[in-house]
Symmetry: C2
């Protein structure tokens, strides 16, 4: 998102304030997005070439994600089964991804791994993750979000790794709806739960998760999948798009600067 936002800011250079507002509104929970926008405002105000600045930002974030991968790879042992939620791969964060970066590097280093991919209703971003893993050659299975607990309890999952939208000062973090459920289930079954994110995801202005605003999104996200209507129009729904996972459920934060333990 940050990578897309810096180019958006470059294109919207004529009215920086309006461009920033518009881009921030696309995903209020995402701190990396806000970070990228502020970076561009600073560069453009300092009369740097906007496209050079954007490219530099993207190269830097790719390097950071690679380091997240290197740091996180230490946690992945040969033969491990990993659970992930939503998409925190190349399609979300360019090239390596965040949560998928350690898996990519483990696989490239010859470790045999298997990934349980939550479907991630309502938007089914698990399909994006499945597609990325297939491209990389990593074995995986998409599971109903309801089934993650079943596999965690059965001892079929060794570690859980997700991304994060925004991490508060105390370690509480916002991420795609359902992340909290999987974190509770991992803890209940004594399975380590890691969050992979660049330091730009940490928002020290926010004391704890209670201050993170959760978007309620359009009902059509539930009523439709891939533009196909799966529920009748009369159905009443509630659709919170994100949730907050308290820090107590997190085993560690995998960043480009190392793994921060709690």
């Amino acid at each position: 998102m940050g990578a897309a936002a810096v180019y958006g800011m470059a294109l919207g250079k004529k009215d920086l304030k309006k461009s920033a507002e518009k881009l921030r509104a696309t995903r209020p929970t995402a701190h990396d997005l806000f970070y990228a926008i502020d970076y561009m405002i600073d560069k453009i105000n300092n009369r740097e070439n906007e496209f050079n600045a954007a490219s530099k930002y993207v190269e830097d974030i790719i390097e950071r994600c690679k380091k997240i991968g290197e740091n996180g790879e230490e946690l992945i042992k040969d033969g491990m089964n990993i659970l992930t939620h939503c998409n925190a791969g190349a399609l979300a964060t360019v090239d390596y991804g965040t949560a998928l970066a350690p898996l990519r590097l483990a696989y490239r280093n010859g470790k045999k791994i298997f990934v349980f991919v939550d479907e991630t209703r309502p938007r089914c971003q698990g399909l994006l993750t499945a597609w990325e893993l297939k491209q990389e050659g990593i074995d995986y299975a998409v599971i109903a979000d309801n089934a993650a607990g079943y596999f965690l309890r059965n001892g079929e999952i060794d570690i859980t790794i997700t991304g994060a939208d925004r991490i508060a000062k105390n370690g509480d973090f916002a991420n795609k709806i359902g992340t909290y459920e999987k974190a509770v289930l991992a803890k209940e079954n004594k399975i380590p739960f890691y969050v992979a994110a660049p330091v730009s995801t940490f928002d020290d202005d926010i004391k704890d998760g209670g201050q993170i605003i959760i978007e309620e999104r359009d009902r059509n996200e539930l009523l439709k999948i891939n533009r196909k209507t799966i529920m009748p129009e009369w159905v009443t729904v509630k659709n919170p798009a994100f949730d907050v996972t308290p820090a107590e459920y997190v085993t560690g934060y995998i960043t480009e600067n190392g793994i921060i333990k709690r």
Copy 2:
């Protein structure tokens, strides 16, 4: 299921053994189904009229579900928000349903209630529950299975009630995939979790949940919803249809004979 099975046995009277085998295989987890089949074998072997016996069974189960409703209604206070999973209503268990029976009676007795209905992927039986609640006039919202934890943590749910397929001697029970997740999340958030089921669901021949066999169902359940393809053919999936919730997560079992506390 028991109500359908007794008529199935009546129609398949000519080869009782084959009919019983065929019907048992439709849902190996469901103890009420097995109970109904054994009842019919006994009645037919004792030369009772098969359709009279089937009718009597169905009238009896309706009465039992009504009593489940009466017993469970005591737990529902005016203004309560209730979470339910899958469909344990009239469409699954005729007339009153099991988990939905207390809600129906609470509503009919003038209590204002709101029901959070898990979508229940992969088969989305939450839509059946939504349809039943709408017919009854009860306010509800279908939510992504991922969102149940969010609402439980936010204090928006006062009680959780689900049905059960089979309850082992120690209280562990099998139910639709995802039930275990919601039970863990309810306990983590100190929200009571009740199982509503007739005594025919208790299988004392099974010591604990470890002995309950879980069906792995067809991949197309995940790939399609309501016959609409929502995932591409290349996607690899795992699809356990049920899970086992340990007794420690259950606050009580609502039966026709009263609420059994743990």
